[in-house]
Symmetry: C2
């Protein structure tokens, strides 16, 4: 187990419905030393990429992204989430429809902060069905910028987001991939990861219930 | 001028209606080197305080708080904002009514992350009428914890929040206090600050339009 998996085992709480609570160290209270270790590990995994900007999404991605950015010496841009669009200035807006949550969200970034010169590392705390992440990828691509990689703290490996993103050819690095959880025993099963870039998995039909649809508004 | 005031003059944009846009370096795109300087300055100003936790509020306070926390070696807790309350577990909730925005917001922190043993530094990016800040102070006090200080990046000195908070006896340190702005010329007038803790100002009647009312829900 790596440092994050060990911390999840120590302080994470498994709840019914495949919920993993990590709010004591990651997304409500944040252990800054742990975030710093995560930043160093992202830097190791994306060492060969010419990253000049980190993109994340409010709210719980921001702390991880800002501490990680100190290892990359680049600025952070955080996308705003909104159910309504209030276009103040020129914005990239991705519309993300979540079938799971049965709502439409907008992911918004001011155009002046992303352009064709940017080589972007996307960072977020969780990856499950990948709806928000798809919105971020679309925004980077709308800007003519390059997604150099995606760094996630915890991926729910039993949901389809990670598989879809890897099948699209992105270098997606999740520091911990949870393949199963048991709310009764509290057990958590992690996917074994080789050191180095992840490989795309064989394509499988996406789980209908957990997919999401997203599109960019112009 | 200090480093933050210089940056505001260089990259801030004054808009009609006393709006100061600092989204290119502080609250949409974030200059992590600048955040680190701010963290060091907060540490200098609160060097004598036994701070063991930093409290901030989503979204734009999180980056500043997390980078500052590396200078204090303490965890960060971020409060959530919500117009509705979804009480999942035991929460401290402050109800903040903004007369300016004509809406009620809830500021929420899980009870397990704040208690009588905590000595809290509150950090946020902006202070204007101080509504959100009053909610945070109430939550710390509800928890039986101590507010050791309040660190703000930019205070709008012409609104009443800073005056009220200082009159309540808190050590409020704003790295830049804007006393006036001119949207036509782009000029920004900063309040001169002595190095060292700020003093309470003489009490004045609060500006009716910019006050807010807050209360803690139990």
């Amino acid at each position: 187990m790596n440092f994050l998996e060990e911390r999840i085992v120590k302080d994470g709480v498994v709840k019914e419905g495949n919920v993993l609570k990590v709010d004591s160290f990651l997304n409500h209270q944040m252990d800054i030393g742990l975030l710093d270790q995560m930043g160093a590990e992202f830097k190791r995994r994306f060492a060969d990429k010419p990253i000049n900007k980190i993109l994340t999404i409010e709210a719980s991605g921001i702390g991880i992204a800002c501490v990680a950015a100190q290892h990359f010496h680049v600025p952070v841009v955080f996308a705003k989430k909104s159910q309504s669009i209030n276009l103040d200035g020129e914005m990239y807006v991705a519309e993300v429809e979540s079938f799971t949550h049965k709502c439409i969200n907008h992911v918004i970034v001011a155009q002046k902060f992303l352009g064709p010169e940017d080589h972007v590392l996307i960072i977020d705390d969780f990856l499950a069905n990948g709806c928000a992440l798809q919105g971020l990828i679309q925004i980077v691509q709308s800007a003519g910028a390059v997604v150099e990689g995606i760094g996630i703290a915890i991926e729910k490996g039993f949901q389809s987001g990670g598989r879809m993103i890897r099948n699209l050819g992105f270098q997606l690095e999740s520091l911990a991939i949870v393949d199963g959880m048991n709310a009764e025993t509290g057990e958590i099963q992690f996917r074994e990861q080789k050191k180095g870039p992840a490989k795309a998995e064989p394509k499988e039909a996406a789980d209908e219930e957990s997919i999401c649809r997203s599109s960019t508004l112009d």
